[in-house]
């Protein structure tokens, strides 16, 4: 088992040692870096193929049908067929489009997603770059996607594209606030922004037990952050055709699709890292645990997509600013209080106090909501 546990780490040490035998050290380091980058990109491409297939199968099951089952066994080669179709399609740039921006956007939208992969801890020691500001890096880089999508919307010179781009900006900037605020609770507990330390801080108990509410807020805002159903307003086909990628075809469209799916997987992976203990887990190798957790969360993403109808834009913004942001702030305050009060008193009091505090917050929300509903009814009766 120790062999399997550190399979990839040992493999990289072995390759490095092999290269260092007949190359100067800096050359061996450089080659290892390039190899890591290549591995991450290949991993991303394989992930998108797998996730695309998985999502279509699972959504199919939710809708009482099989999903793709014609190309290859269980339809697993469907993505290959789709990719061939995408590659051979005509590459159209609209006559009135801003050519530079229009062609730059699909590239720009993919780059941040690949950059985020660099700090994800896939297993013990399996991280390309253990930045000490890991989470800050993720927040900063994932915001770049917003600009790329706005570029796509603006450069297409199409009212639907522009509307979609505008919606992306409004939505992603709004939901970044509760997302970071809820993740702050985790960072408060570990005292570090590095994702590796965050995972190591969960060796005794995953943070979802300490901050279930924080996890919920993070999860909701993360879904909105990657524009997935039920928050897929930027590409709501019944309202604005396909949103910001209305004018894109062929490979450029495939780029948006790629970024979308990888972003969804990354969000699931980050949620698993921050709240479910990342690669921590008994008996199975760490990377297996990581992927189990990430895919479990991804299944919930698909489940929500197969269940919920799309929100209206005012409901979407209202949920972020009127509900999630105040709740995240209260959650952060209470969690900080709990962490300070139970400092040095061991694990059990911390878990107990956190759960009680979370329960109190939920109870407070329910009471306030019931009160507000009664007020509203009184006002309606009076009017």
């Amino acid at each position: 088992m120790p062999f399997l546990n550190d399979l990839f780490v040992n493999l990289s040490y072995w390759i490095h040692g092999f290269l260092a035998r007949f190359l100067p050290l800096w050359a061996a380091d450089l080659i290892m870096m390039l190899l890591t980058i290549a591995c991450l990109i290949v991993f991303a491409l394989i992930t998108i193929m797998f996730i695309n297939w998985l999502e279509r199968k699972v959504i199919g099951r939710f809708q009482d049908r099989y999903g793709p089952n014609r190309v290859g066994p269980l339809g697993i080669l469907q993505f290959v067929a789709d990719a061939i179709k995408m590659f051979t399609k005509e590459d159209i740039t609209p006559a009135n489009a801003d050519r530079v921006i229009f062609n730059l956007a699909p590239v720009m939208v993919v780059v941040p997603t690949f950059l985020i992969l660099a700090v994800l801890p896939f297993g013990r020691g399996m991280v390309a770059a253990d930045l000490n500001i890991g989470f800050l890096y993720i927040v900063a880089i994932s915001s770049l996607t917003t600009i790329a999508i706005l570029l796509a919307g603006w450069g297409s010179r199409n009212k639907y594209s522009l509307l979609g781009g505008m919606r992306v900006v409004a939505q992603m900037i709004s939901y970044e606030v509760p997302m970071v605020l809820s993740a702050l609770g985790v960072i408060m507990l570990t005292g570090s922004l590095s994702l590796v330390s965050i995972v190591e801080g969960q060796s005794r108990v995953p943070f979802i037990l300490l901050q279930p509410l924080g996890f919920l807020i993070y999860f909701i805002s993360a879904i909105a952050e990657v524009n997935r159903a039920p928050f897929d307003l930027p590409e709501a086909e019944s309202e604005i055709i396909a949103g910001y990628h209305t004018e894109y075809s062929g490979m450029k469209y495939a780029m948006f699709l790629l970024a979308e799916y990888i972003n969804a997987f990354i969000v699931a992976a980050i949620a698993a890292t921050l709240f479910l203990g990342g690669w921590q887990g008994p008996s199975l190798p760490p990377y297996v645990w990581f992927f189990l957790k990430a895919y479990a969360i991804y299944f919930v993403l698909m489940w929500l997509r197969g269940t919920l109808p799309r929100l209206r834009i005012d409901q979407l913004m209202g949920l972020a600013w009127k509900f999630l942001v105040p709740l995240a702030l209260v959650n952060l305050l209470v969690m900080g209080l709990v962490a300070t009060l139970t400092q040095g008193k061991g694990l059990f009091p911390l878990v107990l106090a956190s759960l009680v505090a979370n329960g109190l917050i939920v109870a407070a929300v329910v009471i306030i909501y019931a009160f507000a509903m009664r007020r509203r009814r009184q006002v309606e009766v009076a009017a």
Binding site: V58, R61, F62, Q63, D64, R65, Y66, N69, W303, L304, G306, T307, L308, V365, V366, Y369
Partner: protein, 180 residues
Amino acid sequence: MLGLGILKGLSVTLRHFVETYVSDLKRFPHRYAPQGRARRLRPTERGIFTVQYPEERLEMFPRFRGALMQLTNPETDIPKCTGCGICARFCPVGVIEVVRAEEKRDGQYVPQSYSWDLSACLFCGLCVESCPFGALYHTPEYELSTYGRQKGELIYDLDRLLAWGQKYAPLGTPPVEQEE
């Protein structure tokens, strides 16, 4: 209220998700319906409702207006059609051509040639409605496409129509007449 509706919706979709696997298991080692005969699920039934077309086919209902067939009188073994040409007269697009034979057979007029041009037929069923001898009916056959139209694959002559008649109404009564 407060996300309870969301949880309820999630439980509904999860039930559907699980039930598709249950319906798979019931069919287990086979993936498709036996002999490829699928059945339309009733609204109360659960599980996968799609029909995997080339492997499975739905049974067509008796009044389905598929390809035409010519019936044969089972007692005399000659076509019921007398070549009167009423069907050809009724046809709004003129895809039926009938020529009556010079001599009678067993005291009954018979067609010398009969042809139905599938390429322009709109399956309105007026020919079937108009036939006074009950010789012309629809089959449940719907897979009628061919790889070309130059060699007359889409023109159905009397023999092909009679063969379908033998297949779908061997006793001289088509399923649509047995309904009541």
